[in-house]
Point group: C2
Chain length 150, copies 2
DNA sequence: GTAGGTGGGTCTGAAATCTGGACCCACCAT
DNA sequence: ATGGTGGGTCCAGATTTCAGACCCACCTAC
């Protein structure tokens, strides 16, 4: 007889994209991060500006603090009040946030254009472009190649 | 008496980030897109390589097709079989995928380094960097400023 | 021909999560 | 004492997720 039941056809890829999404791959988490980038560090403000349920926001913030993206700092005792700051890791999510925004600006802007404009210190409207660190050329999908490492 | 109940304290920001996340802001959606970027265009393959429940993957693929990110093309009738291709809009998600990967590579790589390497056509390992389209300078979080448009 | 495999799903029921709304508590100002 | 702010928690119901089984049309090997 000896019919072997392997069944393990699933082999999820080990992948930095998947790992990152485990941490910030949820709407409210990323919108919370957006708010902190925009300078809104407080719970109520984040709830108002994102539209997230208070409960969900509380949970997300805890998770973001737990994974080292935000830091919760008291700005008053009596009564105890807190603000959320980006850690270095958090600040490094800026490219993610910007590329998301960039895509939305291009494909989902209403008839009256992108709702939020961001200005670079050079004085121009910030249009984010991805370049190869090595050669400085803009990166296009067709010009890259995945290399199996293991 | 006449106590007015406004209650409308919530004013979710109109924002391209939020809009984009409505469309691709979910783990399996983005992982499906990743697979297509890696050249895996078929349902079963995507299920295997992402680990998503078949059901969920089917739902996500329908949504992605619906929002114009993927295109479902038959590659065989009798039996009917389909492949998913990126549209132009889908290809433009490459920067999003790359910046997510980049962040994960930096902050979530195990002791044996990033699990997947991507090579640029220039021959070097692709490290994606965000630059300002106008001045070409790398974009850092502190050097930008949101401008209210309305 | 029949057993098994592939491709692209759907169905099912239990478990987890999300959601809006109410509630809470400490403090401050009027 | 009344009301507002800030930062939450609690609840119950709705929605999603998930794993696993199932399905159907086809193909190939035996």
């Amino acid at each position: 007889m000896l019919t072997v039941m392997v069944s393990a056809t699933a082999q999820p890829r080990e992948c930095s994209i998947a790992r990152t999404l485990e941490v910030v791959g949820e709407k409210w988490a990323l919108l919370a991060v957006r708010e902190v980038f925009l300078g809104n560090r407080r719970f109520d403000e984040m709830v108002r500006k994102t539209g997230a349920p208070r409960d969900t926001m509380a949970t997300r913030l805890r998770a973001l603090v737990g994974s080292g993206i935000l830091e919760r700092r008291p700005y008053s005792e009596h009564p105890a009040r807190f603000e959320y700051y980006l850690t270095d890791a958090g600040r490094d999510l800026y490219p993610v946030v910007l590329t998301l925004m960039s895509w939305g600006d291009r494909y989902l802007a209403g008839q009256d254009g992108p709702p939020l404009r961001i200005e670079h210190r050079c004085g121009h409207r910030l249009g984010a472009q991805l370049v190869c660190e090595a050669c400085g050329e803009p990166v296009r999908a067709g010009e890259t190649r995945p290399v199996r490492t293991r």
